[in-house]
């Protein structure tokens, strides 16, 4: 078992004909993901990577029964691409694009409310269910099938955490990069709830960072509802206040945005806190032995 993507995934890639889009789609195919189509307006009818390209998502879904979309469309057109996928009835949309204007995402999030569409990202590495489907940009070789879920705002910290887990023989059920932007489709709390309900997941690694209050909300969920152990690392303990640390969402404003405040809330909720990013794997190993 897993969440969001797996053997059942029939992947469509919006922006498959672009440089990154095609390179990453090729890696998805090599990993064993079922990639069924690409969408690039104006390139309909072409064959790329032995897959048909369509002008619209609607046409692609009708022809291929795609059920997950992966988006590599540049920032100016990314919100439009997400809404097109949602309108075409794709239930899981994963948007990799970094640099989408925040107000575009505000409108997208509002439009998706109540639609039943799960958006992952944007500004994220995607979702991977090891051994089944890679829907994103992660280095596939570091992942190992297993029973630990991983949730992270940062992409490269997913790889870092997974590398440590895999080195210790701890496999992963699904790894979800929820994204580094202030407005994202699926929050850490929503991803935690998915893992909580997944019979294939025994424990979860949650990687947060400075800025916003998403970790405090996750803490409240852990306290009230989480049935599985959660190991946490929060990046940015040493970040200066008031500066945007790369991720648009990673700016400390007020006391709640600090790493200390987040760790405190999560520790009180019963999560196990890693002080060092180098000890995520080892901490999970200890938790699983208990």
């Amino acid at each position: 078992m897993s969440i969001l993507v797996g053997k059942q995934t029939r992947l469509l890639v919006q922006g498959m004909t672009g440089r990154e889009g095609s390179a990453q789609t090729e890696r998805c195919i090599q990993y064993g993901t079922t990639v069924v189509a690409g969408v690039t307006p104006g390139r309909g009818g072409e064959i790329v990577l032995e897959r048909p390209v369509f002008d619209t998502v609607r046409e692609a879904v009708k022809a291929t029964q795609a059920n997950v979309s992966l988006i590599f469309v540049p920032p100016a057109g990314a919100a439009d691409a997400i809404l097109e996928a949602a309108e075409a009835g794709i239930p899981v949309v994963v948007c990799i694009t970094e640099g989408i204007p925040t107000l575009d995402m505000v409108r997208v999030k509002r439009a998706l409310r109540g639609s039943g569409v799960t958006l992952i990202g944007p500004n994220c590495p995607g979702v991977i269910t090891p051994g089944e489907a890679r829907v994103g940009i992660m280095p596939g070789q570091v992942f190992l099938p297993g029973r630990v879920g991983v949730i992270s705002r940062s992409g490269t910290l997913v790889y870092e955490a997974v590398d440590q887990l895999t080195a210790l023989g701890i496999g992963q059920s699904t790894c979800v990069g929820v994204g580094g932007d202030p407005v994202i489709g699926t929050t850490q709390t929503q991803a935690l709830a998915m893992f909580n309900d997944d019979p294939g997941t025994d424990a979860v690694v949650l990687i947060g960072e400075i800025g916003g209050t998403a970790e405090q909300e996750a803490a409240e969920y852990i306290r009230s509802s989480m049935k599985k152990p959660v190991v946490v690392f929060i990046a940015g303990s040493t970040a200066p206040a008031g500066r945007r640390m790369g991720h648009a969402g990673a700016v400390i404003a007020g006391n709640q945005g600090t790493a200390a405040a987040k760790k405190d809330a999560l520790a009180k909720a019963g999560a196990v806190i890693c002080g060092s990013p180098a000890e995520i794997g080892a901490t999970m190993a200890k938790v699983l032995k208990r």
Partner: protein, 386 residues
């Protein structure tokens, strides 16, 4: 991107928000002339991006054109230190000369994003002119927060809720509803991340005016606001950060330590800084090199980092996903060919194309201290910096 108060007020006027009469001056003579035009009694306000200017001595009253010139000459060129500038302060290049306002009440109003609900909120308080975060922490009940649904935009009833909450009635109520709506228009149409008026004042003659104005733009929306680019003031930014930006290194932030960092991904970059600190060292910068497609960017990153005289070692922590380790390795090799990197380089390389990257480094025989993981990389860098 941040802008100055006088620029924010010019934007306010474009959106039909009334502001006090005033003009910006770069010299004492200009300040005097403007004060004369305004009738003599003015406020002289230092124009720097940081807040807390008043407490730092950057805002002063002048009751005649001569006094305005004198005060302006004191403020222009000063190194203004506030709680937001850091101990070195920020040099004042210009002052805003404004008519003095007969103030009856000071309020607070802002529009910003509430990440938790993914919507803009209108935020207001009758406790204006104060540090709003202190008000929020000590007396949260004094802050009014109203989310604006992006599907409908600002509605007058929301303005009335705030206005009544602030005790504004009659003509002031109508002014407030119009003013909040105009500022919301500005917030949306210019892709702002913050519009803040602190204080928003009620004058003794019954007007509602922004006495101060702060506007910050969402950098992600730069591409559709070419007109805003000219508002950028590079004097307000760290020179190395400006240079980095011009070389395509968009996510470089200078810090005070001596261990230069090149990392892919913002989260890993922060975690690397944290690891350095845990190992007893201090990072010299935050740098997310992003998705590297050409080695030139790595060379530029090394140029920027080694341009900081405090840097004693450069730490590469790369976990390739979309970024490729072989491109990073080629960049390190190219940089050592192009210029003399006179500090040790520590590298932890993993992920996409790591074998190709290792092969390149081995063949080029460059002097790089290798680390097998994040913890070891931080320890080696701290040792090398000593």
């Amino acid at each position: 991107m941040k802008i100055h108060e006088f620029q924010a007020k010019q934007l306010f006027q474009q959106f039909n928000v009334p502001v006090p009469r005033g003009q910006v001056a770069a010299t004492a003579e200009e300040a005097k002339k403007i004060a004369q035009d305004l009738g003599g009694k003015v406020v002289v306000k230092a124009q720097i991006h940081a807040g807390g200017r008043g407490k730092g001595g950057g805002v002063k009253l002048a009751n005649s054109p001569d006094e305005a010139a004198k005060v302006a000459s004191q403020i222009i060129g000063m190194q203004l230190i506030t709680h937001q500038t850091g101990p070195q302060g920020q040099k004042v290049q210009r002052v805003l000369i404004e008519e003095q306002m007969p103030i009856e009440r000071e309020l607070y109003f802002a529009i910003l994003l509430d990440n938790a609900i993914g919507m803009p909120i209108l935020m207001a308080s009758a406790e204006g002119g104060m540090d709003i975060e202190a008000v929020a922490a000590n007396t949260p009940e004094k802050i009014i927060r109203i989310p604006v649904d992006p599907a409908t935009g600002y509605q007058p009833y929301q303005g009335r809720q705030i206005a009544f909450g602030l005790g504004l009635r009659g003509d002031l109520l109508r002014s407030a509803v119009q003013l909040f709506g105009a500022l919301y228009d500005l917030y949306v149409s210019k892709d702002c991340s913050l519009v803040e008026v602190n204080p928003l004042v009620v004058t003794t003659d019954g007007r509602l005016l922004p006495l101060d104005a702060k506007v910050t733009f969402d950098d992600n929306a730069d591409f559709r606001h070419k007109d805003l680019v000219e508002l950028r003031d590079k004097d307000e930014e760290d020179p190395l950060e400006v240079q980095a930006h011009e070389m395509g290194i968009l996510n470089y932030i200078k810090l005070d330590g001596n261990i230069g960092c090149v990392v892919n991904g913002a989260g890993l970059a922060m975690a690397t800084m944290d690891s350095i600190k845990l190992a007893g060292g201090e990072p010299a910068n935050f740098l997310d090199i992003g998705t590297v497609n050409d080695s030139e960017r790595v060379v530029n990153a090394l140029k920027i980092i080694t341009a900081d005289p405090a840097v004693k070692v450069v730490l590469f922590n790369i976990f390739g996903g979309m970024a490729r380790v072989d491109v990073i390795a080629q960049g390190i090799i190219d940089a050592q060919k192009q210029f003399n990197i006179d500090v040790p380089v520590v590298a932890r390389l993993a992920g996409t194309n790591v074998d190709e990257g290792e092969a390149l480094l081995a063949a080029a025989k460059v002097n790089v201290i290798r680390a097998k993981d994040l913890g070891e990389a931080a320890k080696l860098a701290v040792q090398a910096a000593k």
